[in-house]
Amino acid sequence: MISSIALAVLFLCATGLILALLLILAEKNILNYGPCTISINKGERELNVQGGSSLLSTLAENGIYVPSACGGRGSCAYCKVAVLEGGGVIGPVEEPYLSPEERTSHTRLSCQVKVRNDLKIEIPAELFSVKRYAGTVRHKRPLTHDIVELRIELSDPPAIDFTAGQYVQLESEEYKGNDSVMRAYSVSSVPSDTGHVELIIRRVPDGICTTWVFDYLDNNQQVYLSGPYGEFQLSGTQAPNIFIAGGSGMAPLWSMLRDMKEKGIARETTYFFGALTQKDLFYVDELTALSRELSWFSFVPALSNEPKDSDWNGERGLITDVVARHFEDCSKHEAYLCGSPGMIDACIKVLGGRGMPEDKIFYDKFA
């Protein structure tokens, strides 16, 4: 009896072990593609890599961080790059994410392209300056009931060079069965504070990364982020600005505003900040003080859901209506928007209706 049980257990263990060993050996030997060369942007940079893994992770190992939110599972479609040669055919996972134009321009999802041979690829030049940073959370401060401010001191590398308005990707750690994910957050601190990155994060119900930030992340904890990414930044013109933000969309504009102050860029700027009720407002004192100090800046907080009989003396109504009340003609202005896709689309409509050309509207949509 005992011996037959022992025999069965032994047999199963041995079978499992042998098969696992066989697979490991096979993976090492069969899926070894040897050294490959990746030529980036017409030979601007050449990487000599070991083939076999995805283009996304191979690039990341070599310090080039293509944005990716899903961690290479082929579900976010952020990691698109142009693979001019050697990418093979488009796989079934990529199919749904590539438009006809992208197919003709050889765009691929870099997480789905395996490095099997020499590759020629094209990536935005700004990705060369993207790095992965280790840092320590110096404070996690609630700004409202569902928004926190994170201040991260960078340690390795110790300083970041970015333009106000850009974003970084924060990596969450594994917790409660959730894998590590990367999520994009705009930097709210000023570029001159090179040793720190501040983020404004709103809790998304059931969001993997925000739940981690709110419930698991503590002061003095080590975190990783990569960046800077994004084209959202102040143009070089002297046109008067209209800033519009809602909720945590405050972040890039808060950075741009203080950057303008530091650099002495005195462009007339009106900042409309939309929230539901008074308890959803933050930085109001700081921004009001700034508007007293700077002749070119005015701040207009607006509440859309504040009870009628409350003590709120400021603007009420949807942010689009408030903007429309303030500006009859926007044809000479530039607009910088940050908030939910719904808010941005509504604002683009209103601004366009007041004569603002579409190429003067800059925005950072986050879903």
Partner: protein, 200 residues
């Protein structure tokens, strides 16, 4: 001459009976989940079908050897289910690696279906059914290939019918899996007509 024919005939018969009278999909209703999932188009149906033929034939052969030369001598026949599962899984993974390495075109056509097959009950079913029959190694291979071929024929036909039926205006509640199951049911009725024609 006569003896050669006698040796060949059962092999052909076994193949045919496994493919048609005992159709693994339509008579035994195995491998239904991947069939429902992949049969939306003819070319993916055929891709998966071909992959199944290959895997059923080879795993039937491997499992035959494992059973008769490993499990039976050790008196561990009762472990056949779990052993077959791991052998099939490991084999499919191995094949996937080889295909990926040596033929990217074939990998794109078939390789993506291989992980789906790892847990396909039709494959395990064929490996288990073969033990109920007094087959030798070659006959087992024919049984495996025949079973896979039967599955291939069935999913190919289902895929073709589904492509056509896409253009029909169906009642909302029947779209997708609903009408597919009805189609499979009707086809299964047709395949009942084969039953008993060949007894092997």
């Amino acid at each position: 001459m006569e003896t050669e024919l006698a040796g060949l005939l059962p092999v052909v018969l076994i193949f045919a009976s496994a493919a048609f009278t005992d159709n693994i999909l339509l008579a035994r209703f195995l491998g239904m989940c991947s069939c429902l999932g992949v049969s939306r188009k003819v070319d993916t149906s055929i891709g998966l079908g071909v992959a199944v033929i290959f895997v059923t034939a080879s795993t039937a052969g491997i499992n035959y050897l494992v059973y008769h030369y490993l499990l039976a001598p050790l008196g561990l026949e009762y472990l056949r289910l779990i052993t077959f599962i791991v052998v099939i899984a490991a084999f499919v993974q191995l094949v996937e690696m080889v295909v990926e390495r040596f033929s990217p075109t074939l990998y794109n056509a078939l390789g993506i279906f291989l992980p789906l097959i790892t847990v396909n009950c039709a494959i395990l079913g064929i490996s288990l059914f073969m033990l109920n029959k007094p087959y030798n190694f070659v006959q087992t291979l024919a049984f495996g290939a025949g079973g896979g071929f039967g599955w291939f024929v069935a999913i190919g036909m289902i895929g073709a019918i589904r492509e056509k039926i896409n253009e029909a205006s169906l009642p909302k509640g029947l779209e997708g899996p609903g009408i597919t199951l009805i189609i499979i049911g009707i086809m299964a009725l047709a395949f009942v007509g084969f039953s008993g024609m060949v007894k092997i």
